[in-house]
Subunit: 484 residues, 2 copies
Amino acid sequence: IEIKLRNIVYRSFHARAPTPDCSKGNISSVYTDRVLVHVKDLTEEKVGQVVWLRSRVHTSRAKGKQCFLVLRQQQFNVQGLVAVGDHVSKQMVKFAANINKESIVDVQGIVQKVDQKIESCSQQDVELHIERIYVISTAEPRLPLQLDDAVRPETGEEEGRATVNQDTRLDNRVIDLRTTTSQAIFRLQSGVCQLFRETLINKGFTEIQTPKIISAASEGGANVFTVSYFKTSAYLAQSPQLYKQMCICADFDKVFCIGPVFRAEDSNTHRHLTEFVGLDIEMAFNYHYHEVVTQITDTLVQIFKGLRDRYQTEIQTVGKQFPSEPFKFLEPTLILEYPEGVAMLKEAGVEMGDEEDLSTPNEKLLGRLVKEKYDTDFYVLDKYPLAVRPFYTMPDPHTKYSNSYDMFMRGEEILSGAQRIHDPQLLTDRALHLVTNGYKCVIISCLISSFQFLGLERVTMLYLGLHNVRQTSMFPRDPKRLTP
Amino acid sequence: IEIKLRNIVYRSFHARAPTPDCSKGNISSVYTDRVLVHVKDLTEEKVGQVVWLRSRVHTSRAKGKQCFLVLRQQQFNVQGLVAVGDHVSKQMVKFAANINKESIVDVQGIVQKVDQKIESCSQQDVELHIERIYVISTAEPRLPLQLDDAVRPETGEEEGRATVNQDTRLDNRVIDLRTTTSQAIFRLQSGVCQLFRETLINKGFTEIQTPKIISAASEGGANVFTVSYFKTSAYLAQSPQLYKQMCICADFDKVFCIGPVFRAEDSNTHRHLTEFVGLDIEMAFNYHYHEVVTQITDTLVQIFKGLRDRYQTEIQTVGKQFPSEPFKFLEPTLILEYPEGVAMLKEAGVEMGDEEDLSTPNEKLLGRLVKEKYDTDFYVLDKYPLAVRPFYTMPDPHTKYSNSYDMFMRGEEILSGAQRIHDPQLLTDRALHLVTNGYKCVIISCLISSFQFLGLERVTMLYLGLHNVRQTSMFPRDPKRLTP
């Protein structure tokens, strides 16, 4: 009963209004026809208009009879001015100056043009002359991190000033996610998913949902998480691979899925998470596995183009804190054959055998060499030596290489793919090997090409030229982190 | 080494050609410029043309010097005729008659108009006069289920003939998924996801990814799966609720996610799964929770319209096996207040109190009454009694009801939502109650409305008028089923 009474007391926002400038009252019943504008829409076209907006107080700074507020909404902010005058009392200036940072306020004001661009705000040409202000929600006076510190570049002119380390960010992720940089990263990431699906749906793909709780470890038992499942045990799927293939055998022809994959790998690197989001495709092809390579590279190119054309604001915003060169790609995509890659590395002084696999540093180096020679951050390395690929990879009929390939962004692998052998007997053996628990094996009877994207987080990271996959996972999971 | 040698032998398809009608050879090197047509494109416009197609042999039936084949591709099939003549030998007719059902074949033939519609095929106006046939992949001679049995309606003129029970279907899901009914269900389900996202992206929502492995049970500890996580334990998320709310507090404003949710509930009903796909939305609103209700109902209406307009073939296909009335909805959506719902039930003879919750049979009955009165299969029941909702539900300021609602499709609940109390202290208590494991609680400081869609599978099932959620989950998981 106590709780219920309390709820009724708090049934709506109470404006906290210590001065006559702000009337008390129940906002939700009084102001239902008030139109709130968005900070991003405060441009020169609105000069002279009286507007209402709801935003966070990013900073406040009193200076005599004036108080400057920076009002922030997502990636955008605008300068607000509360100055003693016809509409504003001294008391109100003091009130404004005392509002805790990160509080949510409703303000009414007139949009005014400024003489000199306001460099520190996204809205540089106007400011808001505030006449009324209501505190909708007061933030704690002390925050665990300062948003200004959290968006400061680590190099450049501000070098040496406070920044926020990654654990502090992640421990206080709700505040860290409010920075303009985080807002931009995750809006762009939403775009990656949308562009991926949009492109594939247009190509006639069907989206599928695959189970995450499975009866047997999908990659042979290593690095798998175990789940208690009623009176038995189960595992978390390390990949949707088997289910995608079943869909192809069930005549779905072209499928994709976006969903979590789980790896119980005890590695604490910049690019490993224990849970990440996989972007997966599977398709049957008619004659040659390059039909598939073309579909994937085209999908990626559509994503890169879409990001460049629709998410330029976000790319610029992230670039302010983490400068990087714009992501470059070619049309059609560069497909480099393995021997040419090896030759380029050898020319650059690397000692390696023709059928040797690429080490991570050599992948990075090859990425730089390809960028110099071809001016692209995205390419395919095709025809890997048969010796370095899994046994179910289709050999090239004429050479010691295989029908398999990796794709790279900024020198890091994002996808590994291959034509699979379709000999039913061999694949039955393989399926039995993978899935043993009372489960009828799948006979793969069509030409399929398998591959897995190495994660939404990694694609976003590499596109933006960031350096840690935790920056592109909202709530990352690694061996040491399960919260928030 | 043995395996490698074997791989090379099977480097490409060998046409199995026992008659001179079909030459041997390596298809992938010989026929790279052959264009394959899709069965669905075999219409009267193609009459007289010679085409190639790759399809499954659905059935074959020899009759003297002729053999009729039904060739199936996904939801579509066409009749093929192999008849002794200029291009076809007696041997070839025999060969065609002996191809195992479900084998994949490449056929060349002339499209011919038929005098009488072929009722048993999707392509009713034409048939294919086959001149060449290659078996690309031979199916096993005995299948665990017959596709014809698997699509037979359980009532109507074929009543009493063989059908396939659900466990047999699920045990052999790869074959069951090939039926025209399954193909249609899962293509439509892909459409539900796409329409959901398309609508929300257009409304300015951001897609988010939330972790599935969490440090503490999200719904108070009951019905949660435990995961071994390195040297500790973790849980599988029962809902993305907390993470969605954190995103709102982090200024994302409007977010949605589509992903698996896990419930360790030991119930074996037609509508419970232990893993299902949740379609989730969370948004801040400015003044009234009906802003949110309108956004959700509008999203659902866009989905219903999109399915009706873009997936009519699929709806018709499913209807052949599982007849149901077309799904009806109103624009704007009917919002019924709880007292009116109770009054309708009482008028129909139900005895219940005004503040009593609805039982599942009463929900079903109310669905039928609403359909009779308003001619809609979709409606909102608004203003539930405060007494039957969780303690964090916002009370209505003037009555004993609350700012909460359920949404129904064909009389079954698909979504339950409410305005949440935003008093920080109370919500801090709540957050601490929910999340205790060394995790800094979230202070919810904006008006938010929470709700969860009750599953992609359920929405698809109810839209199509199906009766078991296992029909709309490709690889369902329940207490007794972990495979395939």
